[in-house]
Symmetry: C2
DNA sequence: GCATCTAGACCTACTAGTAGGTAGTCTACT
DNA sequence: AGTAGACTACCTACTAGTAGGTCTAGATGC
């Protein structure tokens, strides 16, 4: 499952989901990108559901890795959130996976197979829990000011980032992503 | 174009897009809901693009109507935004078109036909311009406090509402929509 | 009053193309 | 020899869309 071809299939699945959503890509698209035949994909991922679940699991693992890295290497919790936002700003700017695939799939959620729905939900729960822990730590150390509860500020922060991705895509504008997220971070500054 | 069947087709298209996105529904699905044959849909809407463009135009017309109604009948600009949010809270709660189809389609945007992309963009521009005008009026009359520019506060407000819809869908939770949007409105209160 | 014409609405039957998925085979490496 | 990984060739189900016919209601001509 960790061999090169399987990884390339999974990575191009991620690219394609970020571009078009679950129903917007096919095994034929992936076959063309990876340079193998459609049937060969089934050898690595028996069904489309398996492929997308694996893609989401990997995506979540990468988030966990990145979040852990920030926790360990960046002392200031607010700065961690700034770097999180900066990562996405780069994605939006370069148009490389410029949207969170869990947020995108969430939009299509009722039509998706249950196993995928569950993975999407797990991603949201993980992201919310990391942001919440970060906000709480910042509030305790004084680097972050919370206007309301950590729970609600967490939900609002995540919603703003996701909403910013959507607006940026709709308007074809990197700037709108930057200005929304800058505003969201500004609100968390202690002097406010 | 305004006869009963055409309307029913367009309305069920709206339902289905809100549930599944552009690629997630077919003429066969609509035929089943409306109770006519697939081919008959083409009589009213020659292509899927025509149908979705018509659905988005109608959706925007309804938004314009509702926004105009709020402008005329509700004196306080902040209260207009509260009612806008309340409308969506009801949709989320009742699970009747619980997501803005322009926001949903924006997620899939790069894969959509250009005419649809253009309509999605028009919806965003209209919504942003109405919210901005409302915020400005509120700021002038003192019923709304703007922490930053009207432009940025507008973008943030809209992003929070859209992000709240996404989170609510992902977690199957009406409460998260309510708490995010309540927080967004709270920020605009003059006492803050 | 009655036949005829027209047009909209809907139908059956079909097209070419694509979807996800399967069966069975070949090849190269361990 | 066994196995992983790729292949060709195929399947069924479904997609948007088309061709051409039927039915009905209203308007028109005599």
């Amino acid at each position: 499952m960790d061999n090169d071809t399987a990884i390339r299939i999974r990575e191009s699945a991620h690219d394609l989901i970020a571009e078009r959503g679950y129903f917007g890509f096919s095994y034929a698209d992936i076959a063309e990108v990876v340079g193998i035949r459609k049937a060969s994909i089934h050898h690595h991922f028996p069904s489309k559901v398996d492929l997308v679940v694996a893609t989401l699991k990997e995506y979540r693992a990468r988030l966990a890795e990145a979040a852990g890295g920030l926790n360990n290497n960046v002392a200031d919790p607010l700065q961690r959130l700034r770097l999180y936002v900066r990562y996405w700003a780069e994605c939006v700017k370069s148009n490389h996976r410029p949207i969170c695939i869990a947020a995108l799939l969430s939009a299509e959620l009722p039509a998706l197979p249950e196993e995928i729905q569950a993975e999407v939900q797990l991603h949201f729960k993980y992201l919310l829990s990391w942001v919440k822990a970060t906000l709480k730590e910042g509030a305790a150390s004084g680097s972050i000011h919370l206007h309301s509860s950590a729970e609600v500020e967490t939900q609002s922060f995540v919603a703003q980032v996701h909403g910013a991705m959507i607006s940026a895509r709709a308007l074809g504008s990197t700037e709108i992503f930057t200005s929304i997220t800058k505003n969201a971070l500004e609100r968390l500054r202690p002097s406010n």
